[in-house]
């Protein structure tokens, strides 16, 4: 975490008005992404990772959402203090986003060529012909076969994987400095996932864009990210370099996540083992919790966990964890 961070979020708190009363979806998130870096953000559905991404882009619907506190600095500018018009000029130009559902993220009644060209016309003021030319080039870059002839195709003429390639082209045309990918491969077949990930890696290398990769899939993170942030119930619970996280996860939640990855054939030796799960559910955002948010599901929880919320302590070089076990390591239970 150098000070030259391209994106730095500090103490971000986002609440939502819900029928059950106000709820906090993001509660004091800190994160930084350096230029050209890939940061993976991992967590279950509803842990606040997508809300954080939307807050960066300024796309949260206000109301029901409300940014209560915090700063989001991008390239030295405090995004939350910018006007709507200035934020719009950053979106798509400097920060772009890829969504989860390639089937619904493209406008069904517009040819894909026009959709890829649109950010170029809006942000760079290219003429229709220039933008079309550039769009064709980008469709080639994302390896769409016979790209030039495909410009006039409609989304329904493309497969899911092809559509996600179009989405990537659309996000990358203006060569943004930060690309936010929210579950970019979740809706795709496994074989297509690998292709899309490798395409994203290549493009990232070529353009030098930083990547904020949001996913619940630890496998995707392992392949793509240098650093990982684990979120739980609106908070960052662990941050670590990717290798360290997989070798030596500190937070019980991270450990649980890693144990719940299915392994083909089970344990070596042949005896099939039951896939581990984390018991219980993520608390609702409207729930008031005195201590640690994970205490209710944690196998190591003790009295202190239920009374006082732990802080996000630095536990090693480039590592942080939000867990009382840092101060009370003797409480960690070792079970086989």
């Amino acid at each position: 975490m150098s000070d030259a961070a391209l994106l730095r979020i500090e103490a971000l708190r986002v609440s939502f008005r819900t029928p059950e009363g106000p709820g906090t979806a993001v509660d004091g998130v800190d994160l930084a992404v350096a230029a050209g870096e890939t940061l993976g953000v991992v967590g279950e559905s509803g842990c606040g990772k997508s809300v954080t991404a939307l807050a960066v882009l300024g796309l949260l619907a206000v109301p029901p959402a409300r940014i209560e506190t915090g700063t989001i600095r991008f390239d030295g500018r405090d995004l939350l203090r910018l006007g709507e018009e200035e934020r719009r000029r950053i979106r798509g130009r400097e920060i772009a986003m890829i969504f989860q559902e390639p089937m619904t993220s493209l406008n069904p009644v517009l040819p894909i060529g026009r959709q890829v060209a649109e950010p170029l016309r809006v942000h760079l003021g290219l003429t229709e012909a220039e933008a079309r030319e550039a769009a064709a080039g980008w469709l080639e870059k994302v390896k769409i076969p016979a790209a030039r002839r495909r410009l006039a195709d409609y989304p329904h003429q493309l497969s899911g994987g092809m559509r996600q390639r179009v989405m990537i082209a659309m996000a990358m045309v203006c060569r943004p400095r930060l690309l936010i990918a929210d579950e970019p491969t979740t809706a795709l077949d496994v074989t297509i996932q690998a292709q899309i990930l490798s395409l994203m890696r290549d493009l990232k290398e070529e353009t030098g864009t930083a990547l904020l990769l949001i996913t619940h899939n630890l496998g995707v993170v392992a392949q793509m990210a240098a650093r990982v942030l684990v979120m739980y119930a609106g908070q960052v619970v662990e941050e670590a370099p990717v290798a360290a996280l997989f070798e030596e996860p500190f937070h019980p939640y991270t450990q649980g996540l890693l144990r719940s990855i299915p392994v083909l054939g089970g344990r070596a030796g042949g005896a099939k083992t039951r896939l581990a799960e984390i018991p219980g559910l993520v608390p609702a955002i409207t729930e008031r919790i005195a201590g640690c948010r994970f205490a209710g599901r944690c196998p190591h929880a003790f009295a202190l966990c239920r009374e006082d919320p732990p802080a996000l302590w630095a536990i090693g070089p480039g590592r942080r964890a939000r867990c009382w076990l840092h101060l009370h390591p003797e409480r960690r239970r070792h079970h086989g």
Binding site: R89, A96, N107, E118, V122, M170, A171
Partner: protein
């Protein structure tokens, strides 16, 4: 295009309404007789070779008047649907995206307009403004505004929730440009379908108003007006009423079938299946 003609409703509607449009277009260039030319010697003649559809009480050629009346009907359809579309779509979009206050105001106004019986109010409007074709078009057009406003609001809201709108925003496209380039093209089909059906309704409504003497004024040819004039001679010259009546039925059926056919073909759920 083949997709459209595989649909029976669409094909039948297309043929029927094409005949009306062609008849109207042709009448602008040529009619067998001047539709307003009177001839004291040829009054109330039955169908013959000289006058295929007979003549009226002033000796005017019914065929020529029906052809000229087609122009009238199409004009009314076009103008009223245009009024409804222009104002209705604008208000509907405003209701969908302009916030709760705008939404409430516009929709309650629409409810209010819907609350009045349409024909009675059209009669009221034409009696206040004076009977004329323009006023009849206005009266019908005003009733189309809430029809299109409600439809636009409903379909635009659905589109607004779609992920591609979020994606367009994430690309930095402005709100107005999103409405224009992403929302409008997506709601075009339902508007087109509704527009075609309202076109048929307008032809019928104008005929009704003209029949009551509140629409097109003499000596201009109008199907409804012709029915009105034929009423007196129903016993002696029934063809005077039969042919304009058939013309009305033909045109209304044609545009209704066209609308139904369009709905079958353009329905978003069906459109995916190729």
């Amino acid at each position: 295009m083949r997709r459209f003609f595989q649909n029976k409703n669409f094909t039948a509607g297309f043929v029927l309404s094409a005949v009306v449009v062609l008849a109207a277009a042709a009448s602008l260039l040529w009619t067998p007789y001047d539709p307003n030319r009177m001839s004291a010697l040829e009054r109330l003649e039955g169908p013959s070779l000289r006058h295929p559809l007979g003549t009226d009480q002033y000796g005017r050629d019914t065929l020529s008047r029906i052809l000229a009346g087609a122009v009238n009907s199409i004009l009314v359809g076009l103008v009223t649907v245009a009024i409804g579309l222009l104002l209705g779509v604008a208000l509907g979009l405003l209701a969908a995206y302009g916030g709760k206050a705008a939404d409430e105001a516009i929709m309650r106004l629409a409810d209010l307009l819907f609350g009045f019986p349409a024909v009675l109010t059209a009669i009221l409007i034409t009696s206040i403004l004076g009977p004329s074709m323009v006023n009849a078009m206005l009266a019908i057009g005003i009733f189309y505004i809430p029809v299109f406003a409600r439809l636009t609001r409903a379909v635009a809201r659905v589109v607004w929730e779609k992920e591609f709108i979020a994606a367009a925003r994430a690309s930095g496209i402005g709100e107005l440009a999103i409405v224009r380039r992403h929302v409008l093209p997506n709601i075009l089909s339902p508007l087109l379908i509704q527009g075609t059906i309202q076109f048929a309704v307008a032809i019928l409504a104008e005929a009704g108003l003209s029949y009551l003497g509140l629409g097109t004024q003499p000596p201009h040819a109008s199907w409804g007006r012709m029915l009105n004039e034929a009423q007196t001679f129903l016993d002696t010259s029934p063809w005077m009423a039969v042919f304009p009546g058939l013309a009305i039925a033909w045109a209304v059926l044609g545009f209704n079938l066209l609308g139904d056919g369009l709905r079958d073909v353009l329905d978003p759920k069906m459109a995916r299946i190729r």
